[in-house]
Symmetry: D2
Subunit: 276 residues, 4 copies
């Protein structure tokens, strides 16, 4: 299906401020960029590089004053994510070398401390996809989706303790529980059609039966219509904007829109589960 | 300056035909992609990968029948290429490791056979940028720009023998002569504003004084307003379309346009020097 | 100078156990591998790959039973580490793209929570190398080197709270404090001549004035005679052995030796500062 | 099986001469480095980097005067190369992205000019492994192994015309004929046990049925006991020594030895077929 997505951002810099944005999706096997705009006002020179996860990163210096960043993209994406209830856990010895590092603990996913929790969540669920779906479903039903509970330093253990969080926190819990069971898992950020309120979104992927599968603990059912902006170990690696100023950027406005121009207007799907 | 460029292609496939296109520029230090379209009709799944030169490559299978490919891009590019008459030759021992391979002979640039010619061209010109400019200028004044002399298998030695060729051939000669003098050189293909007749263009870059400089033997004077599509050792690596069918694709039409929307219309610059 | 180093390891596997070792140094600008042995008994097939940090990683399956791993290496290394008291902090905007990620928080270096501590440690020290040396020296004088205080899940905040740790913990604190001040820092593991008791060692590097410098908070003075085995964000990425069995490997013995064959026997240097 | 191989080289430099050597094998799936020595006399600083083919490259400056380079290695390698008469040609659409470039013509393998010859060689042989074996066998029986016929600028077409060449030339012909049939092929250089006279050797690999297979047109029968030193498109990329001096290095001596310490001494196998 075809999706149109846009993100408009207004920031104020109180002094020249180096910034890295990750706002340009890449064409890949599951998504194809039909068209794109990437506007900066005022115009500043930008260097684009590819990080070790394969993400396109835009480096620039935001000059003192106001700046607007506007990105728009039309992408061909998958209508539905693939669900494979019987996909097995890939034995460690058969994991591709470049997937192995997604087994490791990371800043927000301290999987080295979470095996006990993971075992209690999956219980006697058969190994593989079924375990990850069990984890996803457990998060969906046992954590409340609530703003204001978490901050930039909240990790998966904190979220379990709070019993609540937002999409990023749900993804961290899912990733950390998977890794503690030796299932490679990674963070994904991007756009999803039908979110309400609309915003950039975060979910996770797990590597099972030789490929990556999408999981989203904020949703009641498997849903496609997603555009991936970036992959990483956790939120550390996928910030849509990172600023490195002597003084932080002030984010004045951020507006995200996602539409499916070729489709009848969908009913508004709650972007996130209603909180408990 | 801002450039708009487009390339429309119509092909016929007589059976399903695997194809690789290199029609998506990358944002980098010298060019920034403001907006882009990449249309295929009919729509087919595309995989995009990055080759060892850093080029974006689009893999697809052209289904039996007709296909249209249309790409449009608006880029911020440099008005003028940098000219540095005194840039020195970089000593081999100071070349970055990932530049070294641009010293090697390649299919169309048999530099291992061209040292004698290179020495006769540069004469007593001081080493460095001045030598490359001497080579560029020598090609411009001594080879005729003429269609139909060269084919897909013409290399730099052939072109010297013919005394004529097109942009691709001029670039091959320039690259081969540079390399024989131990100056790293690479092929560039892309768009250039003001060419007449308009078409995709080819030129070369040489590594001098620690960076790459642009040289174009088809032009009377240094000219900017270029959009890079791909880099490579020579034409082997930078084909805008490579087809791998049991039967070759038939190219029915190819139309390239480049405009500078923010500028007064430039006089038509001869895309290439007038032939001798 | 020339160093000889060896590491002998005996493990028991209670079932076939996938393992990744990082026990083969790479030749680079600061160290050159003169000779090497890498023995496995029993012999098993090994695949060697290079991770995203550039480390050589050896993958194998340890069969049920006992295994010995013996590595020996003779390397040419630097006698002294470079000390550059006036090296400035590299502005973010001038950092190479592949260094930027060493600014980010990581599992054991939660720099996002440590700016306050870092500011109190560096006080009015001028920015750059001097700050990192101040951090290194502060750790050396304020944390006790003591075994048994930390575990595999201890992060830099835990270590500050305990007031004690081992080389790995000291490195984590140094790295986290640097990153919170926007100085890229990375973990290093390897061999060091003169440690007592001899063991594998860990220290850190900070990126200043355009290059990496070595810092070791366990030592009274700058000391060279090091062989690097691996680089990473923190201990997550540089384990000399990672096992992924259904049951963990049992480590029966590990013996490290480092000698400098061409030198008069050095006095035994305390491998680590005496604890407070 | 275990192989010991060594290469001793004596050169004279008439002025400081930058040099790149490719004399250090890498451990991989099919070969494991048990032990290694790499001596330089006099000692000079060396930088080791990995090129785009994955080869380890040693950069150094040979100082004016004499230098000896000695490398010794003990490797675990495959006794026999895998033969798979029924392995199919991999359809282009299923080739891994990083294999595609091995379809392209290169300096010494102008496959763009050799389709006609390839078709006449393979005749009605079924597509896939059988075609490559047919090519290999055709070269073996129709080209004479003879020193002095070819030079550093001899390509596959030249060799066909001469009707003779050495291992490098045979490999070039095999590679070029494969590529013209859309079979990816690459150059390999390394050691082979039993060659007489002993020397560094060259052969080729073709990608069939999803993996690389070894082919050696100098041999009567499939033979293993090989150590790979480097891969590339053709001889351009795999020179064991490349010098970049104002004056070329003088090669005074080069001595290669390969033994299989755990085996009864093999009969001397003619390193190469007897010439016609």
């Amino acid at each position: 299906m075809k999706l149109k997505a846009s993100c408009f951002i207004r920031v104020t810099a109180f002094s020249d401020c180096p910034m890295i944005a990750m706002l340009r999706p890449r064409s890949g096997v599951t998504q194809w960029m039909i068209s794109e705009r990437y506007d900066l006002e005022p115009w500043v020179p930008v260097e684009e590089f590819i990080d070790s996860y394969g993400n396109l990163c835009q480096r620039m210096i935001v000059p003192r004053g106001h700046m607007r960043i506007g990105v728009e993209v039309a992408m061909e994406v998958e209508d539905h994510i693939t669900v494979a209830p019987h996909a097995p856990q890939t034995p460690i010895s058969e994991l591709p070398s470049n997937v192995l590092h997604y087994l490791l603990q990371s800043r927000y996913c301290p999987s080295d401390k979470m095996l006990h929790k993971a075992l209690s969540v999956v219980g006697r669920t058969p190994r593989g996809y079924a375990q990850v779906e069990k984890i996803r479903s457990w998060i969906h039903h046992n954590l409340a989706y609530r703003y204001g509970v978490s901050s930039a330093s909240t990790d998966a253990l904190d979220t379990l303790e709070h019993g609540a969080g937002v999409c990023r926190d749900f993804a961290h819990v899912g990733i950390a529980l998977c890794r503690s069971l030796q299932i490679p898992a990674r963070m994904v950020v991007g756009y999803m059609h039908g979110l309400k309120p609309m915003d950039l979104h975060a979910w996770f992927e797990a590597f099972l039966g030789g490929r990556w599968y999408t999981f989203d603990a904020t949703q009641d059912a498997p849903r496609g219509a997603r555009i991936v902006l970036a992959y990483g170990h956790d939120a550390t690696d996928v910030a849509f904007i990172s600023d490195y100023g002597p003084r932080p950027l002030q984010l004045n406005e951020m507006r995200v829109e996602v539409t499916a121009p070729d489709e009848a207007q969908p009913e508004a799907v709650p972007a996130v589960k209603t909180s408990k």
